[in-house]
């Protein structure tokens, strides 16, 4: 044949390469590729899990921040309610105290008034007695002018 082509040797070369291909494919290519694919799968799985965890965390964060906001609002409301109630209560206490104070003052005034009238009632006989004593003293000790002037005074009082 031209160029010394030998079909038998061509076939021998083919057989040689087929054996080599089979050996390299099953001994090297397939196991290494399997390992690479496995690792790729593992990495993808990790990435997927990380993404899921991250999204879950984001969701939780949103949920908790919402809860926190509502709790803060609730606290604010409770605070204002408590303040209002306290103010109301204070006002009530103040009113009550004022009323009580008024009552006490009223009572005190009435008592004072009563005392005053008592005093005034008690004062006239005493004054009479004092005037009698004084008159007696004047009558016996001073002049008739004094007696007259005293009589004038007592007449004026009556």
């Amino acid at each position: 044949m031209p160029l010394n082509i030998d079909i038998q040797q061509v076939l021998l070369h083919m057989l040689n390469f087929v054996i080599l291909f089979a050996a390299l494919y099953f001994l090297l290519y397939k196991p290494v590729k399997k390992f690479i694919d496995g690792r790729e799968e593992y990495c993808k799985d990790i990435e997927k899990r990380t993404k899921t965890t991250l999204s879950d965390a984001e969701e939780l964060k949103c949920e908790y921040s919402g809860k926190l906001e509502s709790a803060q609002e609730e606290i604010k409301k409770m605070k204002s309610d408590a303040a209002d109630e306290a103010e109301k209560e204070a006002d009530e206490i103040k009113d009550k105290a004022r009323q009580e104070a008024g009552n006490i003052i009223e009572k005190a005034r009435a008592e004072a008034e009563k005392e005053k009238s008592n005093i005034l009632n008690g004062v006239n006989p005493e004054i009479c007695k004092l005037a009698q004593d004084a008159a007696e003293k004047i009558v016996f000790e001073s002049t008739s002018d004094a007696y007259d002037s005293f009589l004038d005074i007592t007449d004026g009082d009556e």
């Binding site: 021998l12 070369h13 040689n16 050996a23 390299l24 494919y25």
Partner: protein, 275 residues
């Protein structure tokens, strides 16, 4: 080291080298005595005289012996790697694991890029083909000696520098493309590959031509004693490495592109799927 000592050392080295070169020229080259350059070149192409006995059964070209040797070495390395390295693979790769993963990943990537629909088999094939072509071409650098049936000692060439090896590789690659199309797309896929009937011949002769040219230049350089120094580093080593890389790349690219074409799903199927 002083300047004087350096100068003396250089002079001594130059004198020894000059003496050796003169001696080589005066004694003559054994290649010139036994075969003329014409015969050496002709034999590198046709292997008419430089045949080697295969286990005493048949006489074959040295390229076939090279092919068997390269395959045996590669299979042994693959077995060692499979037993001792691959089971110890970890998530954080070591040096050998990284190299293997990069190699397999590279060919898987090429196969996926050129044949997106069916690429598992194509990836494995181009991986094996690239390894065979690369290491087969580098093999000639080792200069492993073999004895021809005429009793002459020759250096084993690259397996694909033998026309039979190149034809085997070309037709086998075409067969992969043809049957890949047949198995995935039926007769239509096979017909797609059949229209490129010149492909096996072009692939075979591209490989043969490229590797033979390298072999011929190397033979030429080594034939003459004067060109056997320094020059082989450029011509032999660099050309061989370039051949190894370029031819591996060209063949795997062609195979993956044509395999992708023949295994591509027909448009009618896609339309049906869409509807």
């Amino acid at each position: 080291m002083s300047k004087k000592t350096k100068a003396v050392s250089s002079l001594v080295f130059a004198l020894i080298a000059a003496a050796l070169i003169i001696g080589i020229i005066l004694t003559g080259s054994p290649g010139e005595k036994e075969e003329s350059i014409k015969e050496v070149m002709r034999d590198a192409v046709l292997h008419e005289t430089g045949k080697i006995s295969l286990f005493g059964i048949i006489q074959v070209n040295p390229g076939l012996i090279s092919a068997f040797t390269v395959s045996a070495v590669l299979i042994i390395i693959a077995i060692i790697l499979r037993i001792f390295v691959i089971p110890k693979f970890t998530l954080k790769p070591g040096k050998i694991q990284y190299l293997l993963e990069r190699g397999v990943g590279l060919f898987t990537g090429i196969a996926k890029e050129n044949s997106p629909d069916h690429n598992i088999f194509a990836g494995g094939y181009i991986f094996a083909a690239a390894v065979y072509i690369f290491f087969g071409t580098i093999f000639e650098l080792f200069g492993i000696q073999a004895q021809t049936v005429r009793g002459i000692s020759i250096s084993l060439p690259a397996p694909l520098a033998d026309i039979n090896g190149a034809i085997a590789m070309g037709f086998l690659s075409y067969g992969i493309i043809l049957f890949g199309g047949l198995f995935t797309n039926g007769i239509k896929g096979m017909l797609k590959a059949l229209k490129d009937f010149s492909l096996p011949i072009s692939m075979s002769f591209r490989l043969f031509g490229a590797l033979l040219s390298g072999a011929l230049v190397t033979e030429l350089v080594y034939y003459y004693a004067l060109t056997s120094y320094v020059l082989p580093v450029l011509v032999g080593v660099l050309f061989t490495l370039l051949h190894a890389l370029i031819q591996s790349y060209v063949l795997i690219t062609l195979v993956s592109i044509f395999y992708g074409e023949s295994t591509e799903p027909s448009k009618k199927k896609e339309k049906r799927k869409k509807s």
